[in-house]
């Protein structure tokens, strides 16, 4: 499929939305920092995924998703829950 927008048009269409989401991300991290208690594995995975935003090639969304994914290949023995948490607990 052909490209439909110039870089300038992409900025015109999406900058304000992305700016809003960027501030939301910053506010979320501030909120978590201000809160008391221990963080679980999701915060660590989240911070790792944030690093992917600094990449120079347009694969950032894919890389963020991969960072938050279970990379293993074998089925688990039994499903003991139905819901997903959004990050893999064993992310290093």
């Amino acid at each position: 499929m052909e490209k439909t927008m110039t870089r300038q048009e992409a900025l015109d269409l999406y900058f304000m939305d992305a700016r809003s989401k960027l501030i939301d991300l910053a506010a979320f991290l501030d909120r978590v920092d201000r809160a008391e208690g221990e963080a679980d594995f999701r915060l660590k995975a989240f911070r790792l995924a944030l690093r992917e935003l600094e990449r120079k090639e347009p694969q950032r969304a894919k890389q963020v998703l991969l960072t938050l994914s279970d990379p293993t290949t074998k089925p688990i023995a039994k499903a003991t829950a139905k819901a997903a948490s959004g990050a893999w607990p064993e992310t290093e």
Binding site: M1, K3, T4, M5, E9, L13, Y14, D17, A61, K62, L65, L66, L68, S69, D70, P71, T72, T73, P75, I76, A77, K78, A79, T80, A81, K82, A83, A84, S85, G86, A87, W88
Partner: protein, 269 residues
Amino acid sequence: MRYIEPHGHMVSRVTDDYVDMATAGCEAVCEPAFWAGFDRSSVQGFYDYFCQLTEHEPKRAAKFGLRHFTWLCINPKESEDVKLADDVLGIIPKFLDRPTVLGIGEIGLNKNSKNEIKVLERHIDLAARHGQLILVHTPHLEDKLKGTRLIIDALKSDKRIQPQRVIIDHVEEHTVKLVLDAGFWAGMTLYPESKCTSARAIDIVEVYGSERIWMNSACDWGVSVPLAVPKTALEMRKRGHSADAIDKLIYRNPLQFMSQCPKFKLSAD
């Protein structure tokens, strides 16, 4: 604008949603069997659900000028109980000849367990034996990548399965290429929080092309938007996509895939 909603759980929606969808140009809605938000206690619960999907819901949709089609299965969220799954698999053939049943779906995986895979393989076998199309659900969030790989392996290992007769749904940036490269159709689900936003779905189409791909709202009892497909079409228009490119993605592509089932007709003739 005209479009087909290829994946909507309309039993969970109100009549206003049908009105809005028809007003926006929807010509048909296709409803895969899914998890009700709670586990059903017996095969009889599924029997009643399949009757609802094949008898009641098409009549309700018709009141608003929409054709309604369906897919049947036990959803992977209820597949850990293999005995129940086998009981449900046993009643599905009784429904396959009904005039609005398109195939087996949405089968797949949820937590990628051994029992889920066993039940997935039995659904694939059922579809192969009865010559049915297949619609596949891929897992949520951190489980999606692994689940997509396992699902592709299971489908590929059954040589009776033709990839062009299978749609693997809920793809995102990290799974879409796996699905398309293996020859399957890919579905993108437009959700406000999880899966794809409109902007990301259009990005995916711009990067990977619009062959063998569709978009759906997968509207259900959770956070979802029944008009997600036409809203995404409007965003495509904002980006400068042509009317023809939009029509292909939201109408001709789902029409092409589902027309492989001769029962899929958009007029009542």
